[in-house]
Symmetry: C2
Subunit: 146 residues, 2 copies
DNA sequence: TCTGAAATTAACCCTCT
DNA sequence: AGAGGGTTAATTTCAGA
C-alpha cells in the first residue's frame, strides 16, 4: 500500500464526508487525482463504504452487550453467522479462538429486549450464550492510527 | 425521536456520504429541510461524525483481538481508559460488568505486534489481560436496523 | 497517474410561508 | 419546520501530458 493511499484512508477513516477538494489539499494532489484514487480504493474493496457514527443512547439503543456463543450439539454444522444475520440488533459477528466459537456485539433498547434477543439467538442457532454487558463506552470506532 | 429524524439516521448509518438531495428524495422532504435536520442532529451530538468502513486486512491491520483487562491492585484508582487512550491500536474501550473491568478491541498487523501491545497495556495500566483472537469477521458495524 | 478545464450537480444561505 | 431560489462550491468527466 502506497503512502498516498494510506494517507487518504487515514483521512477518510477520521472524516468519511471529507470533500475531494480537501483531500486534495491535505495530500498535495489535485482534486481529480484523489477522486480517482478514492474510486479505485472503493473498487478494490479497501474502502467498503461510509457510515455515520451515532450516539446510540439518543437513538434508543442504549444497551450494548457482547454475547459469546457455543454450539450445543457439536455434530451439527455450525452456520450460526448466517442463521443470525437477519437479527438487526446484531451489529457484528466474529468467529473467535477460545472456549466459545463466536462473539456477537449487539445493541438493544433495554434489558427486556436483550432477554428476548438471547432467547431468539439460542433458538435460531441452537447455542448457549454468555453475555457481557457494556456499562459505558469510553471510545469506539476510533479512526486508524497515524 | 421523530420518525423523520430516525429515518435520516438510518440512511446515514447505511451510507454516510449520501447527499442531502438523495436524503430529501428518500424522506419526502426538500433538500434544505433535510440539511437543516442533519445539522441539528450533528449539533445535538446524535450524529457524531462520519467514517469510512475499511478492509483492515488490506490496510495492514489483519489481526483483530478483544482484550479483557483486570486491575492488579484494586486499591489503585482505575483510570485505564485514559492511560490507554494514546495507543492507537486500540479501536474501542468499554467498561463492562463481569469478571473483568474493561474490554478493549484492538487491531494490529501481526501476532508479534499483539504481543508488544499486550506488554504495553499491562505496563501502562497495571492490569492483567485475557485476549480473544478474532479468526474471521462475518459482519461488523452493520447499519442500525429498520 | 497526474493536471487542468468544462459541465453538471450539490451544498449552503436567505427569505417567505 | 419546511419550501423555494440564488450563489458558491464540489463532483465528475474528459483531453492531454
Amino acid at each position: 500500500m502506497e503512502e498516498t493511499d494510506a494517507q487518504i484512508i487515514r483521512l477518510l477513516s477520521a472524516d468519511g464526508r471529507m470533500s475531494f477538494t480537501d483531500l486534495g489539499r491535505a495530500t498535495g494532489l489535485s482534486t481529480s487525482a484523489v477522486h480517482q484514487r478514492v474510486r479505485r480504493l472503493e473498487a478494490r474493496g479497501v474502502v467498503r463504504g461510509y457510515q455515520a457514527k451515532l450516539d446510540h443512547e439518543a437513538v434508543g439503543l442504549g444497551l450494548t452487550a457482547f454475547i459469546a456463543i457455543r454450539a450445543i450439539d457439536p455434530s451439527q454444522p455450525d452456520d450460526s453467522p448466517e442463521r443470525l444475520r437477519h437479527l438487526d440488533a446484531i451489529e457484528a459477528c466474529y468467529s473467535v479462538a477460545g472456549e466459545e466459537s463466536y462473539l456477537l456485539k449487539v445493541r438493544v433498547p433495554s434489558t427486556g429486549a436483550l432477554e428476548s434477543l438471547l432467547a431468539e439467538i439460542r433458538a435460531v442457532a441452537n447455542v448457549s450464550t454468555r453475555s457481557t454487558i457494556v456499562l459505558s463506552t469510553y471510545y469506539e470506532n476510533r479512526p486508524i492510527g497515524g
